[in-house]
């Protein structure tokens, strides 16, 4: 050992004495600085997001270095024809391999250190807290070191195995395959997830990375199994390399190094088993989920199956190993023991005649069902729990159904192109439980999951899951901070309560999120440490806008008091998933952060629109295309009226970054704008505000476009139809002067 360490020291010294070797880690650090030091003001200001992307490229490129270095360490001296005298130094074959690996690894650690230092400098410049910086450095340093350890061992092995003219091209090919080709082409094309164990670096093909709080937590199970295999495999490569070195330094017993290599190979094969077991388990679980999902052609409108739910009391406990244990108590209103449709204007559709169907996520196992305190027989099939409707007491209006259930929620899934994400998870420091996934029993509905035309799994959005239901959810056993889409009470004795009346249910997120608040501003932002500054400046800007908008509406705009803003690409099913775009649930606006989707003017507009009209404005495009019309074919000017708010706000505020108008230069909008201008200039601004408020109060919400193929489409009746004629009727009522009346009526919308 002493001799090996001395030789390793000498090898490292020889590397350090080559001038170019010290320049390369510096170059990697400069790369990191270039991408993180100065951020474009119009893009996200989250330095961790840029650092994550830079790490992907850097690690992909730098794995070439240990591979080539490994070859050179072997071939430039030890196995050079003129350097055979080195074999007479008192260093064993294994000692040579170990010494060269140690020296190369120590040298490669300079890259990790240089890149980490560059990141830390940028992060400190952007004011990130030390805890966030350390956590990021720790995560990525681990990935770098593991990749370097394996790549270097492979390089050394190739160096021993092949002459220089072959080993260098072989090492280059190994880099291309192990760092790029397997990730970019082979695994996504064939969905051979077991191939990930043979990646030289795990970042290039890891769609889970990019969220500083959740990524590592979600990826670590697979990463650690991959690391264990990678390290044992690296050990095998080193031992096999030592055995090959026996050609130049023959051992006393020739078979001994080969037996050791064989043992190491067996150990590597054994270390692969846990990794393979995880992949098999995931694959089987995904098949289970797909079996419970509705095929594309059989998708039905979930609203038809929903029955009324008066109240839901839920007590949920987190247990070790991602296990959830819960008891749900549902108060279901009935008339003579019959369910009532959640949509008052439509009769209830039964999934199976005479049975009550509730949806509960298929991974959750039901232990018991009681109706009004009496245990009953129930059936569990895929994601539904069914029992006979006749078990209800016809004398009672409210039937109390109590369901006890438990299960593991660690819902990995693979989407198009092999992209990975989680539908739901509970870990010690990361929690995501979306309301629409049915982590508590949902009344009726079609299915929780669907399949698209290519039989890919899709989640189904959370629109109006439980109209007007009173929720009381008590959570315990969770080790991390939890945030929900329902108002939270004070945590007491480790129990946290969420309570409120809601249609969208309760989505929970958990982790070391930051709460960014501004005095006097009711909206708070739940985000990652990297976004705190941007979130704060957003709140400052929005506070001004809120005051302006409230002046126009004359009422407080307080329907939203929370924004979830962090990278969400790792949750949900695919790129069109509900989780990947702006959406609102109860009092919460979800903004899935990307480099370009940040807390900019568009986010201000989305929040403004949500506060004013109850949607995020994503349906305006569809509305403009003439989707909105009344029975007699007259175009709706709902979009123009909504735009009038933005127009008026811009007019009064005189801000540089105006509230973007949803309306284009249509005839109706040109006419309306001239009316607004005239009224405003004649001192009738207040009349104008009151006029617009009439329309706003009667509903100007635009339906959100379907979020994915399984998305619930709002029926035509939910679209606000306001014709220009109706607008002018009210106009004449609110405007005292006839000179403010238009002379002609615009054609078209």
């Amino acid at each position: 050992m002493r001799v090996m360490l001395r030789q390793a020291g000498m090898e490292l010294r020889s590397l350090m004495l080559l001038r170019w070797t010290l320049l390369l880690p510096g170059a990697a650090a400069v790369w990191m600085l270039l991408h993180t030091w100065r951020l474009r003001p119009e893009s996200s200001q989250d330095v961790n997001l840029y650092a994550a992307e830079t790490h992907i490229m850097l690690l992909m490129l730098t794995t070439a270095i240990p591979l080539l270095l490994g070859v050179l360490l072997m071939r430039r001296d030890l196995l050079h024809p003129s350097a055979e005298w080195l074999f007479r130094l008192p260093v064993s074959a294994g000692g040579w391999m170990a010494a060269k690996w140690l020296a190369g690894f120590a040298y490669m650690t300079l890259y990790t250190a240089a890149v980490s230092a560059a990141y830390a400098a940028s992060a400190l410049r952007h004011g990130l807290p030390l805890s966030s910086i350390w956590s990021q450095i720790g995560t990525y340093a681990l990935l770098y070191e593991q990749s370097f350890a394996l790549s270097l061992a492979l390089g050394l092995f190739l160096g021993v195995l092949l002459p220089l003219r072959f080993s260098l091209p072989a090492a280059f090919c190994a880099w291309v395959f192990g760092s790029l080709f397997l990730q970019a082409y082979i695994r996504p094309a064939y969905e051979w997830n077991w191939l990930k164990a043979f990646y030289l670096q795990p970042l290039f093909d890891n769609s889970l990375f990019g969220n500083e709080l959740w990524s590592f937590e979600l990826a670590k199970d697979e990463l650690f199994r991959g690391f264990a295999f990678g390290l044992v495999f690296a050990l095998f490569l080193l031992i096999a390399g030592s055995a090959l070195l026996g050609r130049s330094k023959p051992p006393l017993v020739r078979s001994r190094p080969w037996l050791l290599a064989l043992a190491a190979f067996v150990a590597a094969a054994a270390a692969f088993l846990p990794f393979a077991a995880l992949q098999i388990q995931r694959s089987e679980h995904q098949q289970l989920l797909e079996a419970s999902a509705a095929p594309y052609k059989q998708l039905q409108d979930p609203a038809l199956f929903r029955f009324r739910l008066e109240r839901l009391e839920l007590e949920a406990r987190m247990l070790p190993k991602s296990r959830l244990e819960a008891e749900a108590r549902l108060d279901i209103p009935t008339v003579q023991g019959k369910l009532l449709s959640a949509q008052n204007d439509q009769p209830l559709k039964y999934a199976k005649e005479g049975t009550v169907s509730l949806l509960l996520y298929p991974s959750l196992e039901v232990q018991s069902v009681e109706i009004n305190g009496v245990p009953v027989h129930w059936e569990r099939e895929a994601d539904s729990i069914r029992f006979a409707e006749q078990l209800f007491d016809p004398r009672l209006h409210l039937q109390r159904v109590t369901i006890s259930y438990s299960g593991v929620l660690n819902e990995w899934q693979s989407g198009p192109g092999g992209s990975e994400s989680y539908l739901a998870f509970i870990r010690n420091s990361a929690v995501y439980l979306p309301a629409s996934l049915g982590w508590y029993p949902l009344p009726g509905g079609d299915t929780l999951l669907a399949l698209d035309e290519k039989d890919r799994l899709l989640d189904r959005p959370a629109a109006s899951l439980t109209p007007e239901t009173d929720y009381e959810v008590v959570l315990s056993g969770f080790d991390t901070k939890l945030f929900g889409t329902l108002p939270a009470g004070e945590a007491q004795a480790g129990r946290l309560k969420f309570q409120g009346v809601s249609a969208d249910g309760l989505t929970l997120i958990g982790g070391r999120f930051e709460q960014v608040r501004l005095a006097g501003e009711p909206v708070e932002i739940i985000t990652t440490a990297g976004n705190v500054d941007e979130a704060y400046s957003f709140l400052e800007r929005f506070h001004e806008r809120r005051k302006g908008l409230e002046a126009v509406t004359g009422t407080p705009l307080d329907t939203v008091n929370q924004i979830f803003f962090f990278p969400m690409h790792l949750i949900g099913t695919n790129t069109d998933s509900a989780t990947r775009s702006w959406h609102a649930e109860n009092n919460t606006l979800f903004i899935p952060q990307t480099e370009r989707r940040n807390l900019d003017g568009y986010a201000e507009d989305a929040l403004s629109t949500l506060l004013l009209f109850g949607d995020t404005g994503r349906g305006a495009g569809n509305a403009r295309k003439g989707a909105l019309a009344n029975n007699s074919g007259q175009a709706s000017i709902a979009v123009e009226i909504r735009s009038a708010y933005a127009y008026l706000y811009n007019k009064t505020s005189g801000k540089d970054t105006p509230f973007r108008l949803e309306s284009k230069e249509s005839a109706a909008w040109i006419q309306m704008r001239s009316l607004i201008d005239a009224a405003y200039e004649n001192g009738y601004a207040d009349n104008l505000y009151r006029l617009l408020e009439q329309f706003r109060q009667s509903g100007l919400t635009l339906p959100e476009p379907p979020r994915n193929e399984a998305g619930e489409r709002l029926s035509a009746s939910s679209v606000p139809i306001v014709t220009f004629e109706q607008f002018m009727l009210l106009w004449s009522k609110f405007m005292p002067e006839t000179s403010l009346m238009p002379t002609t009526q615009p054609k078209g919308g």
């Binding site: 001799v3 001395r6 030789q7 000498m10 010294r13 020889s14 004495l17 080559l18 430039r76 001296d77 050079h80 024809p81 003129s82 350097a83 055979e84 005298w85 074999f87 007479r88 130094l89 008192p90 260093v91 064993s92 026996g246 130049s248 330094k249 023959p250 051992p251 006393l252 020739r254």
Partner: protein, 292 residues
Amino acid sequence: MMLTAHSLGKQYKTGWALRPLTLELGTGLHGLLGPNGAGKSTLLRLLAGMLAPTTGDALLRGSSVRDFRRNGSRIGYLPQNMRVLPQFTARQWLMHAAALQGKSSLKERTRLTDDVLEQVNLRDEADVPARSYSFGMIKRLGVAQALLSASDLLIVDEPTAGLDPEERIRLRRVLAEAAATRVVLLSTHVLGDIGASCREVIVLGRGRLLYHGSTQGLTGFAEDRTWAWETSENEWRHMPLDGLLSARKSEEGILCRALSERSPSPFAQLVEPTMEEGYLALMSRHDSEVLL
């Protein structure tokens, strides 16, 4: 005996590189001679434990030269061609070699390094990176590291090739000094190096051991076969060249020496042979035996 080889042989797919031979070498300087392709380098590498034998084994103080645990730091080896990493100085290399030998104290390592640097006359260039060394200096550095590494057995392959006469003489002296306590095996094509310093000599030919014994014994192969005579230039031009060893112009004609069973000239007289003539006599006898 410190170094013994029993039936030591090496066979490749193409045939025997070294047919099984048995040797016993004690402390002292031993020369190894043989034409190109005779198996000298194979024998040296087998004895240095850098090649696995096909038959037999070589033992140093009773344990195999490939027994790393026992003999890892007892054998020094200097191959024919030597390369060192150019960024290191001679001192850095030698200090490292001393450290690997288990010399833990810096003082001792420094003393040993200074000693060998002095012995190979590299002290003045000891702190200059090897990239600026000449071929001869690298060779001397190689000898120095082999000396440092060899407590029992020192194997040197063509150490004097490329050295100027002064350095050659110095190196012979160094090897002779080293041989006082070790087995030193010197392979060379320069018979003068062996004649000047070796007590015993090993001769290989076509992968076989042809001779192992004293230098006088080798000379003896040319006994009664070495002829000398003086002849005129005209006669010399028409003379057959078989067995002719040398022809040197004298005042009266040309002085010739030849190896032959019979007198090559009526004027030829048997003379005292040299070791080189003994070696040539041995090789020619071996060649004719092989041809027969």
